[in-house]
């Protein structure tokens, strides 16, 4: 029941936009997004609850399509600091069956 992430990897130039998708075959209660820089621990970005809520801070935002059981992470006007691996994590029921996706490696070049 691990969620599927796409693409596996993406390379951008500074200022370009990117979208990372996370989908599940199970009905989801929430989707979490994390970013991990090389050699560091994952860091929390945001949580989306079922209901199609969209969230964002700075130039990173995300949406959750409950009908499709899919979440998308939007990175606009990318900066060098956005480089890293992005993981989604899905929760099927309150506090249960939380599992991370395989990750999407994002590289932002000058």
């Amino acid at each position: 029941q691990q969620p599927v992430q796409s693409p596996q990897a993406v390379i951008l130039r500074e200022g370009e936009d990117a979208v990372i998708n996370c989908s599940s075959s199970k009905a989801l209660y929430s989707v979490h997004w994390y970013r991990q820089k090389h050699g560091e621990a994952p860091v929390f970005l945001m949580i989306l609850l079922k209901g199609g809520e969209q969230k964002g801070h700075d130039k990173i935002s995300a949406s959750f399509n409950e009908k499709k059981q899919q979440s998308s992470l939007y990175l606009t006007a990318s900066q060098l600091s956005y480089s890293g691996t992005y993981f989604c994590g899905t929760e099927i029921y309150y506090g249960q069956n939380f599992v991370f996706g395989p990750g999407t490696r994002l590289s932002v070049l000058p």
């Binding site: 979490h32 949580i47 994590g89 929760e91 309150y94 506090g95 991370f100 996706g101």
Partner: protein
Amino acid sequence: NAGVTQTPKFRILKIGQSMTLQCTQDMNHNYMYWYRQDPGMGLKLIYYSVGAGITDKGEVPNGYNVSRSTTEDFPLRLELAAPSQTSVYFCASSSFIPGQALYEQYFGPGTRLTVT
């Protein structure tokens, strides 16, 4: 707040040796987790705990044991180390309120383990 602390940061084990990875959190979180991350790969859940005295298996529990005697501590025990257990181990904690979604997970800095 120190957050989530892990010791040691690095360790080299010989095949067949045993060791305990320590994890402590000072945020009074009820949920705690152990993940392993192989090079270039994602996070695999080993064990998790929803509170003191309660633990459960994750995706890859074989070769590991855990205990949770206090809210703060969640040690991971490796018995009879094997080369396949070479990995980076992350401990994490989060809050959970029944009837609501999991809160964000706070990760420790990780323990890099090599078994040779």
